[in-house]
Symmetry: C2
Subunit: 134 residues, 2 copies
């Protein structure tokens, strides 16, 4: 897989994504990048996000809402998803060795284990405030 050429559209998408920690959807990315490049098309946003994800420059996250979300932070980390509002937050485990230990466990039965994704579920603090009970 060879490197991509430069394009201001792709750069603008990546620049925007780097400013966000909340794993925006394609729709959100599209709307925001249009502030910079008003005539960018939705197809271009999709195509470039897919290219960037294929290259490993960004990470695709499939949330609870069945639309793709993207993250420019590709350091190994996990995610917390609010089952109430769908918000996705980053989790950096204090002791990440448990993850590699798990992968090693799995590797005993599957020759090839190249990585893992871990999603934690619960209610985010904001939703807990809104609905203390139930």
């Amino acid at each position: 897989m060879k490197a991509l050429n430069k394009s201001k559209q792709r750069q603008a998408i990546l620049d925007f994504l780097c400013t966000r920690k909340d794993h925006p959807s394609v729709e959100v990315i599209y709307n925001n990048v249009r502030d910079v490049i008003p005539d960018i098309s939705l197809g271009t946003v999709y195509r470039n996000l897919n290219l960037l994800a294929d290259m490993g420059t960004v990470k695709r996250i499939r949330g609870l809402d069945s639309v793709d979300h993207f993250d420019a932070d590709i350091r190994p980390h996990q995610h917390f998803m609010c089952t109430e509002c769908g918000r996705v937050e980053d989790i950096f485990l204090e002791d990440p060795s448990v993850v590699t230990a798990m992968e090693d466990q799995v590797r005993r039965h599957h020759d090839s284990v190249t990585g893992s994704d871990i999603y934690f579920y619960g209610r985010c603090s904001e939703c807990l405030d809104k609905l203390p009970e139930s």
Copy 2:
């Protein structure tokens, strides 16, 4: 959330799902259930899978192919996804305590952690045979 009434369509969907360990998609479920109930509609399959998933009777899995897959096995377990062919296999960790240990780590920063999903990625044995190198 109250219990569902009985319906032969819903039962047929659930019966079929219980026979499968490969986390079929809605499309696959639909085609197979039609062997039993030829005039069942795709909308009914969707609606019932969503109802069953909401009740916790089945588990929804979002794979690499962005279509929903379903699993009638709701025991806590993990999944292995082949990055080559998309196949989803069950993983039962020999030492599942690492999962609860991780959840406890997360619970220090998020008051409410109700569960987690773990996906391992790699190539399944079948795809490894096909493409030993690369």
